[in-house]
């Protein structure tokens, strides 16, 4: 492996059409680059609002979409140039957990059948008996066991249990990279923490790196080692969680941090009210910084020229404020 780099997303751009017949294009992701190491395994949190491109980025890494520019390299191999064997290998290596556990599973099939099929498909296991111990091990990892779920359908589980089952499914093949798309946002507060702790255990005991996508900064801090902030398809700031969290540089990161509603009554006086604005496609098409028209520090050139990527204090920030 080249220097412990597991995944390298390099200059990735993805365009979508809009308007009549989708002929006009806007960039849902523009020139996104970041790296993820496997030694030590890390949890990278990608944070952004609705429409920031975070799901598009995950779909690209999962090979569900093809980028319009740039490359994604996983363990030295371009994931869009894999042969058939390579694709199977990639599926064993990279797995995902999605937002809504009730939609991830087929409602009319028994949950254990589902796990058997996944194990057979991912690990080339021919017989059910061989899969039993692997499935049981994965389920025990998330605090369940095969006896308890045998023969049940999804309606017999709570959201938290079901989400843990879908994590168990994702770790059947002991992937080196696990992608999680808002896995706790559909769960009740009392069940969230236990699912979040499971992700930490996956990092510490299985040694998998995790890309965790969310819009909730409080959980992001709880779980993450590194953070990347997406705004309108641009990675505006990335770096170690502690540094970014304690001293955000980009004005957008500052605004996000202020907007967290803490479950702490003493915090309400510290929150500055924000003025509402609406998301418009023109923000994606803006030639300069996409945040310019909401930014309290915007200078005239911000709206017309794209900000450069500047490395300060272990992190990268895209903002004219820090350009020399």
């Amino acid at each position: 492996m080249d220097g412990g780099i597991l995944l390298k997303v390099d200059n990735v751009t993805k365009q979508f059409g809009y308007g009549l017949l989708g002929l006009r294009k806007f960039k849902a992701l523009s020139s996104v680059s970041f790296e993820l190491t496997s030694e030590p395994p890390k949890i990278l949190v990608i944070i952004g609002e609705t429409g920031s491109g975070k799901s598009t980025l995950l779909k690209l890494i999962l090979r569900m979409l093809v980028p319009d520019g740039g490359t994604i390299i996983y363990r030295g191999r371009d994931i869009f140039r894999l042969d058939r064997e390579g694709v199977k290998w990639y599926r064993r290596e990279v797995q995902a957990v999605f937002q809504d556990p009730y939609e991830s599973f087929n409602p009319i099939r028994r949950i254990d059948t589902y796990l058997y099929d996944s194990a057979k498909f991912l690990l080339n296991i021919g017989r059910r008996e061989e899969a039993v111990s692997i499935i049981d091990e994965a389920l025990r990892f998330v605090g369940l066991d095969l006896e308890r779920i045998k023969g049940k359908s999804i309606k017999e589980f709570s959201g938290g249990e079901l989400q843990r089952i879908s994590i168990a499914r994702a770790i059947l093949s002991k992937p080196h990279l696990l992608l999680a798309d808002e896995p706790v946002s559909m769960l009740d507060a009392s069940l969230r923490v236990s699912v979040l702790n499971t992700f930490r255990e996956i990092r510490d005991k299985l040694g998998s790196s995790i890309i965790y996508v969310t819009h909730d900064l409080a959980t992001a801090y709880y779980i993450g080692d590194d953070i990347a902030v997406l705004y309108r398809g641009v990675l505006v700031e990335r770096g170690p969680m502690d540094v970014v969290y304690s001293e955000p540089l980009h004005p957008y990161t500052k605004m996000l941090l202020n907007s967290i509603l803490e479950p702490d009554i003493g915090a309400r006086k510290r929150i500055k009210p924000v003025k509402l604005s609406s998301i418009e496609i023109s923000e994606f098409l803006a030639p300069g910084c996409k945040f310019a028209n909401r930014c309290p520090y915007a200078k005239p050139e911000c709206g017309s020229r794209e900000p450069p990527a500047i490395d300060i204090d272990k992190r990268t920030v895209l903002c004219w404020l820090y350009a020399k």
Partner: protein
């Protein structure tokens, strides 16, 4: 007609008395007991939060308070009294429907529903929704005044003015949500019932909507009932808070007290399990999951998950215990006079 008005002492604006209701499943003999003997009082100029996990009965309670009781939802017991001005209080559940619809709904009590994206008529322009609401309530207003009203309110909720000529499907979910909020506040109601007003929006918009509602509440000195599962929303908004668990209000009191020194074991575990800004120490969740309301456990509904459960908790429902002024908790730990 005068008989439907009721006199209530003190100066509340809305009183729910021993409300009990739920959903019936036809031909199956199943009753889902979603709201079990809930009492609440709302004073003027205050924000009351109703917190609880999904399926604990918060939205059902909101529907009953608003008088939107339609099968399969039935109310078996209780009253919801609302201040109808000089004439006294009117019961939302048994009062004359015409009076309630024309005089109370929107004028005194308005409702921001959870799926506000789906309540706008897809065949009508946004502008016409506003004009029609004025008309229905018998308010003579010229088109020019409607437009100037809309201009003012759209500006404060961050909507482009062009949106008034749009059809609902042309707008994003967040924009439709804000239009419904603008509609709900149009006739300057004295009570606003907001059922998860910010579920489908992201953090920055959420703070925007909530700070707008808060500012509006301070200016007009009205009251807001905020229903949400998100304790962050409650910490930001509430003056008083009611914690619901499986159809019961288990704790009710001053928000600051409930957040800092919760008494009920459920509230305590819930607040301990919340992740605060800048926190990383490993936290424990609450074991188990909320009960099925079609077949709730006997005794206290929280006992299967409660670390302090005693014998009495498994047998009998705990009574509501008053602790000081305006603080109630429903737990055997406190009605036995020990902690």
């Amino acid at each position: 007609m005068a008989s439907q008005y009721i006199h209530v002492t003190g100066s509340p604006i809305l009183v729910a008395e021993d409300v009990d209701g739920g959903y019936t499943v036809p031909n199956r003999g199943i009753f889902i007991h979603a709201v079990d003997g809930v009492s609440l009082t709302l004073g003027s100029n205050e924000v009351l939060g109703i917190a609880g996990e999904s399926g604990c009965g918060k939205s059902t309670l909101a529907k009953i308070i608003y008088g939107a009781v339609e099968p399969p939802l039935i109310v078996r017991r209780g009253k919801v009294l609302i201040d109808a001005g000089d004439r006294g209080f009117i019961d939302m559940l048994t009062g004359d429907r015409e009076v309630v619809r024309k005089e109370i709904m929107w004028k005194t009590l308005s409702y921001i529903p959870q799926n506000s994206m789906n309540v706008l008529n897809p065949m009508k322009r946004v502008r016409d929704h506003f004009i029609e609401t004025f008309k229905f309530h018998g308010i003579e207003i010229s088109k020019k005044d409607v437009v100037s009203y809309i201009r003012e309110v759209f500006n404060s909720v961050g909507l482009p003015i062009d949106a008034i000529n749009a059809y609902p499907h042309q707008l994003s979910g967040g924009m439709r949500q804000r239009i419904v909020i603008a509609l709900a506040l149009m006739l300057k109601p004295r009570v606003v019932l907001a059922d998860e007003p910010t579920t489908a929006v992201d953090v920055v918009t959420q703070l925007g909507i909530l700070s707008f509602l808060k500012e509006w509440q301070r200016e007009t000195r009205c009251s807001i009932v905020v229903i949400s599962h998100d304790m962050g929303v409650h910490a930001y908004m509430d003056d008083r808070i009611a914690i619901m668990y499986a159809g019961n209000i288990v704790e009710y009191g001053d928000a600051e007290k409930v957040f800092t020194e919760p008494l009920h074991p459920y509230t305590r575990l819930l607040i301990e399990s919340l992740i605060k800004k800048g926190e990383r120490t490993i936290k424990k969740g609450i074991l188990g999951s909320p009960p099925n309301l079609a077949n709730p456990p006997p005794g206290c509904r929280f006992h299967p998950r409660c670390p302090y459960a005693m014998d009495v908790c498994r047998r009998e429902q705990p009574p509501e215990t008053r602790i000081g002024d305006n603080y109630r908790v429903r737990c055997w730990l406190y009605s036995y006079g020990k902690r």
